[in-house]
Amino acid sequence: MSSEAALADDTVKLAYAVLSANAGDDAAAQIAALGETGLIGLGIEESRGGSGGSIALAFLVAEQAGRTLAHPAVLHQMGAALILGGVDAPADDVADVVRGQRTVLTALATSSAVDVTIPFAYSAERLFIVTPNSLRISDVQRDAMSGEGSWRHPDWAEHRVRVTAQHHGREWQCKGEPQKAALSALAGFYALGAASALLRDTATYTGHREQFGAPIATFQAVSHPLASCWIALHHARELNIASAEHVAGDWTDLYVAAHAALTTGLHTAETCLHAMGGIGFTWDADPHRYLKTVLRLNNWPEPAINRRRQLRTLLIHDYAQAR
């Protein structure tokens, strides 16, 4: 095994162990644990307050977050770290985020005054706003956050946050597209991890659940759709790994790969939910938690429909001009 592969293997094991030990819905605890073990600042040079290593390692941590169904708010923190590491921010500021000492929400916006809905929001202290040409950081005004109720779990509320033009934060000029791609990639890897975990659970369940005198997994009507999910996940993961390892400043491949991960993750969750039958629709069972998480991730940091529009422009030559 090469040294890079060994490092990746160690990172995956550590992330899985840390997140498993803090399983549940306590986002702050998970962020603190990831921060303490240096798993948030991967992909950022140590001299800049990060943990070193390649950005691909950060994505592997996100995948383990999905595999353990960690609170997706950890993606806010990991995303903020990557974004901050990509601008000329003071190392101390980066380190605060990397160590989990200052909790963060991230959002995309098209203008400087924003009014955004942030999924997986919790009581974070700062808000990172990525616009097409800048990164803005502001303190979260508690009275500006309004909960919109639970979509998955009472602790996983999403909030509408209003940040006015008179915010008191700081701003860096930077290209927004790479930041968006990095956030999308984090979401994509999380979705891959979550979908893979759900697929394994579904394989176990359908291998034991008997109907017509046999495990339902012995029927091709059940096993083949699951095999299709395996095929799709395998290829989406290969694409994402290759894109992460060769990112080298080109965010397009990362963004494209993230789309594959997110759509595959959602389709897998839907298929598994169906294969589990009534269990898939039961509140006390896990499948719906995976589904709802991946559904939200498919629309974070931007709506899926916006991503599709951008992909047309990116992947079809002269499409934008033709339209």
């Binding site: 096993s223 083949h224 290969e238 694409l239 790994i241 079809i316 030559h317 499409y319």
Partner: protein, 404 residues
């Protein structure tokens, strides 16, 4: 082996051009130097045989066949056949990564599979894995030089996906194998010199046991080939009848009774290596569709389909390259190859269907070319193991689901 002398066909093994200024593949440098040498040789061969770069669509294996064979023979003469096959057996001894580089250069000329595609894709790997030293030295050079064409006799009228149900039998009579039975959908049978045929040689204790892989000469009185016309009008495959056909006693690949393992290993290897060429061709077709469509006349739904197809092709590329790396390291790719066969075939079908729809809508693409691709694509979920078989394998080995 057999009564049809391979040595006559080879006339002394692979022919090389001693006076060529261009290096053989074995002599070429590495990295960029290798790629440059490959391009130079391909240019020289294209010029020599009058090869004109083929369009990205409508250029299946049956187009320009004579010229196509001449191209591969010219490559072999210059020492550029069997890139990843050891030099001792007529190859160039290069890595699979270099084979990928060379395949990409070939794809740019519109060449996606070797003329002797069954031989190179299935028989050669099987020979390397299971052949005796003598078999490898005798059979591989003419195969790689495109002098000896091979077909593969696996499927039978009553044994398609259920390959283990095959009925063709072989027994030792008078010191040689006598073979009786029928094979069907046998690609390249009409021009093949040899067939890698599976035959039942033992008692049927288990469907997978008692099968032997035989190297059967095709040009003998006991072999009758009846071409089958395909839905696209081509006659690429045929029904083969063995009526007391003969093969020499030692014309066995692997051990007697080991045929099932030979077949599975050969098909597995075929999937990975052919996938590389197939993925390259698919990429070229995607580029062509991008280029030829007037997107101002197309709705967003078709554009979204195009995006998903383009992403699938990227995913396929990533997986295939990862599999090549795995093979290069001497490890098994497991069900990843089965998985990529499914993605490749279904993406090809989606792309061809979209191409036909866009062509018939008058948005720019060539109708005949895309119709040819569409018809061709329909076979891909059937051959090399149907996609249902692949999914069953993945369900069992990838997901650990119970067997029926």
């Amino acid at each position: 082996v057999g009564d049809n002398s391979i040595t006559q066909l080879t006339a002394g093994g692979p022919r090389r051009s001693p006076d060529s200024a261009l290096p053989t593949a074995a002599q070429a440098g590495t990295g960029d130097a290798f790629a440059a040498a490959a391009r130079a040789v391909l240019d020289a061969v294209a010029s020599e045989v009058g090869w004109i770069k083929r369009p990205a669509v409508g250029n299946g294996d049956n187009v320009q066949r004579d010229q196509r064979r001449a191209f591969d023979r010219a490559l072999a003469r210059r020492g550029w056949a069997g890139l990843a096959v050891p030099v001792d057996y007529g190859g160039a001894g290069r890595t699979l990564t270099e084979l990928a580089t060379f395949s990409a250069e070939l794809a740019a000329l519109g060449i996606s599979t070797p003329y002797n595609r069954v031989g190179v894709g299935i028989v050669a790997p099987a020979l390397l894995l299971f052949g005796t030293e003598s078999q490898k030295r005798q059979l591989l050079p003419p195969l790689l030089a495109t002098d000896c064409i091979w077909c593969q006799g696996f499927s039978e009228p009553e044994a398609g996906s259920d390959l283990a149900a095959l009925r063709t039998s072989a027994a030792i009579e008078g010191g040689q194998w006598t073979i009786n039975g029928r094979k069907i959908w046998t690609t390249l049978a009409s021009e093949a010199d040899y067939c890698l045929a599976l035959a039942r040689t033992g008692r049927e204790q288990s469907k997978h046991q008692g099968i032997t892989a035989l190297l059967v000469p095709m040009r003998q009185s006991g072999v009758q080939v009846t071409p089958i016309t395909q839905l696209d009008g081509e006659r690429d495959f045929a029904e083969v009848t063995f009526d007391a056909a003969h093969a020499k006693r030692d014309a066995v690949l692997g051990e007697v009774g080991q045929g099932w393992s030979v077949a599975m290993a050969a098909l597995s290897y075929e999937r990975s290596l052919h996938l590389l060429q197939r993925q390259l061709r698919l990429s070229r077709m995607v580029d062509e569709l991008h280029r030829s469509v007037r997107w101002s006349e197309v709705n967003d739904r078709a554009a979204d389909d195009m995006v998903e197809i383009a992403i699938a092709v990227r995913s396929l590329k990533s997986s295939v390259h990862a599999q090549l790396t795995t093979l290069q390291e001497g490890r098994n790719v497991g069900v990843n190859a089965n998985s990529s066969k499914v993605l490749w075939s279904e993406t090809y079908q989606s792309l061809a269907r979209l191409g036909v729809e866009l062509a018939l809508s008058g948005a720019g693409p060539d109708v005949d070319g895309w119709l040819a691709e569409y018809y061709s694509s329909l076979a891909t979920s059937i051959y090399a193991g149907t996609n249902e078989i692949q999914r069953t394998i993945i369900a069992e080995r990838g997901l650990g689901l119970p067997r029926r």
